[in-house]
């Protein structure tokens, strides 16, 4: 593991701890407005200052980590599971099943700009956390499917798979017990980059007003609220802290993904 991935892992651990212990870390109600205290700069009482309606930015950033983590974990787990299943079927059966799945279905999903598809889905379904997660899973699974298909194509030619078949194991058993455990290693890299993507997409959609509706403290919502000119003028920290939170989280998952990829692919390590 290189130094950058250790930094990444450290940031992610902090991010997870903050999300878990949010109620103990935040001293203020995330929705409590106090117009007398608006646009306060960072101080001992309000570590990150207050926003245009006097809400405590530190508390909101802390609770925002929960939303990001929840969306990230659910989206990655669901899309990795669905993608692995579909990819494994395409790779294992090949023939017309593979032509239909990887030749047509994968390519159709890859032909669509992911963010646009998510925007379109939520625009019609209506905003909300569950719908946002659903839309991100719809655009997320194909990356895993493509990866697992390629892995399964490779692994199914190995001798131990032939041996299992000779012993009379069924397709389901061969795929689940023999092929998949040997094929999912690169999935970890994809999952780490997928977390970065999901956190970013959640914030993007919330920024566009298509994610978690305000006053929920999603980082994307906070940035959207902080970017009007009077708030920028009076309280640039309302933009900077949630922006830093997003950037650090995404950066951390990218560091981990890059580090893992190098670790798993010795050809890259030499460079």
């Amino acid at each position: 593991m290189n130094r950058l991935s250790i930094i990444g892992i450290t940031i992610v651990i902090i991010f997870v701890l903050v999300a878990i212990f949010a109620p103990w870390l935040a001293h203020y109600d995330v929705g409590a407005t106090n117009l007398a205290m608006r646009y306060m700069p960072p101080s001992a009482a309000h570590w990150f200052g207050t926003d245009a309606t006097g809400r405590d930015i530190f508390s909101r950033v802390v609770f925002g980590a929960r939303i990001s983590l929840e969306v990230g974990v659910v989206v990655v787990v669901v899309s990795a599971f669905v993608g692995t299943m579909i990819g494994a079927i395409a790779g294992y059966y090949s023939g017309w099943v593979d032509s239909l799945l990887s030749g047509y279905l994968f390519n159709v999903f890859l032909a669509f700009p992911g963010l646009l598809l998510a925007i379109a889905l939520v625009a019609f379904l209506g905003a909300g956390l569950n719908k946002l997660i659903f839309a991100l899973c719809i655009i997320g699974w194909v990356g895993y499917a493509r990866l697992i298909r390629a892995q399964v194509l490779k692994v199914r030619e190995y001798d131990f798979v032939q041996a299992a078949r000779a012993l009379g194991a069924g397709d389901f058993r061969i795929l689940l017990v023999h092929i998949l455990p040997n094929a999912i290693q690169p999935l970890i890299v994809q999952a780490s980059l997928g977390m970065a993507g999901a956190v970013l997409s959640e914030a993007s959609l919330s920024f566009l007003g298509l994610g978690v509706p305000p006053p929920a403290p999603s980082w994307g919502v906070m940035i959207e609220e902080a970017r009007d000119l009077s708030t920028l003028q009076a309280a640039p920290h309302a933009l900077i802290f949630p922006g830093l939170a997003i950037a650090l989280t995404v950066l951390a998952f990218n560091f981990i993904g890059d580090g893992l990829r190098e670790y798993l692919d010795p050809r890259q390590r030499r460079r």
Binding site: P113, S204, L229, L232, A247, L251, N254
Partner: protein
């Protein structure tokens, strides 16, 4: 030659299949609207007559697809065949006539609204791309030439930060710095030539980071080739070696990424246009479409953006094959 023609036909066939799927998805998206789209657009206080009139005007009174599962008066659902008298066919017939329907709010033809906004988005995407290339090539070359040194490591970290910083963080920060604090540029709009600078930098930042990484690894790879040793041996300056020989070969993968990223830029432009009030397709989609629940405009914009994306990708792929004959053979 015959082989080549077959390959081209196959690609075009697949392109048509993908476009067909995308158009079908977009036409059927309106079925996802919870409840009645007419109520969603006109509001709860609309009279039954207004709702009926609205549905008839926009063809929403007709069945959505060739078949459906309508409930009979007893609440039981059964499959019913409608034939070609349905909205899906209507939409296709209209599209083939160059008609994307009328706005639910203003009755303006959606195709006209799209053509009005399209040039602004393309202008922004191209400007973003030019900025990204102008940053990425020199930075990538410097990093690649000094591989493993402090310069390379710090440039690589900066590039990774550029990839991780979303446009909706960079954009408002640029507005704060250049519009609010320094007062050099306007915070939003498209009136003066200088208005494109901030949106283009915002949109191009992530791309320039991606390209920098590509140029860097390309330069590293090419510097190890035999022809570089030859060029150096015949006494060419290091500058000529890098810019005349290495860069020429190293730019092939960069061109591909550039083409593929054009589509990403078009999708990313949605957010950038919202930040800067840039009157392109993205702003049309977000403000007039999603913001006002004008589903016809949403359909039209999604269709326009995704079709551009698909065509750009196909052209890139063809350009790549033409540039690098090795891919053509395999």
């Amino acid at each position: 030659m015959k082989h080549k023609l077959f390959g081209l036909l196959r690609r075009i066939g697949f392109l048509i299949l993908v476009v067909w799927t995308v158009v079908s998805l977009v036409t059927l998206l309106i079925e996802l609207v919870p409840g009645d789209p007419a109520v969603a657009v006109l509001g709860e206080q609309a009279t039954p007559e207004q709702l009926v009139q609205f549905r008839v005007k926009h063809g929403l009174d007709r069945p959505a697809f060739f078949f459906g599962f309508p409930a009979d008066p007893n609440g039981r659902r059964s499959v019913k065949w409608y034939g070609i008298d349905n909205r899906y066919v209507d939409y296709w017939v209209a599209i083939l006539h160059g008609d994307l329907g009328k706005s639910f709010r203003t009755d303006q033809p959606v195709i006209r609204l799209i053509f009005e906004r399209y040039p602004a988005t393309i202008e922004l995407a191209i400007a973003a791309m030019l900025i990204a290339v102008a940053i990425a090539i020199p930075v990538g070359v410097v990093a690649g030439k000094n591989r493993g040194t402090l310069i390379d490591n710090s440039l690589s970290v900066v590039a990774l930060i550029g990839i991780s910083l979303p446009s909706f963080v960079i954009g408002p920060m640029l507005v704060y710095l250049f519009a609010v604090k320094l007062g050099w540029l306007a915070p939003s709009g498209r009136f003066d030539w200088s208005d494109i600078i901030l949106p283009a930098v915002t949109l191009g930042a992530a791309l320039s980071a991606i390209l920098t990484r590509m140029v860097r690894s390309s330069v590293i790879e090419e510097l190890g080739e035999g022809y570089v040793r030859t060029a150096r041996a015949k006494g060419l300056s290091e500058r000529a070696v890098v810019y005349k020989h290495v860069l020429k070969n190293g730019l092939i993968p960069v061109v591909t990424v550039l083409g593929l990223q054009l589509g990403v830029l078009l999708a990313g432009a949605i957010i950038t246009e919202k930040i800067f009030g840039w009157p392109g397709l993205g702003l049309l989609l977000v403000e007039d479409g999603i913001g006002k629940r004008d589903y016809r405009i949403v359909q039209g914009c999604v269709l326009a953006i995704s079709t551009t994306y698909i065509i750009a990708n196909t052209l890139t792929d063809m350009l790549y094959r033409w540039l690098d004959p090795r891919i053509r053979v395999s």
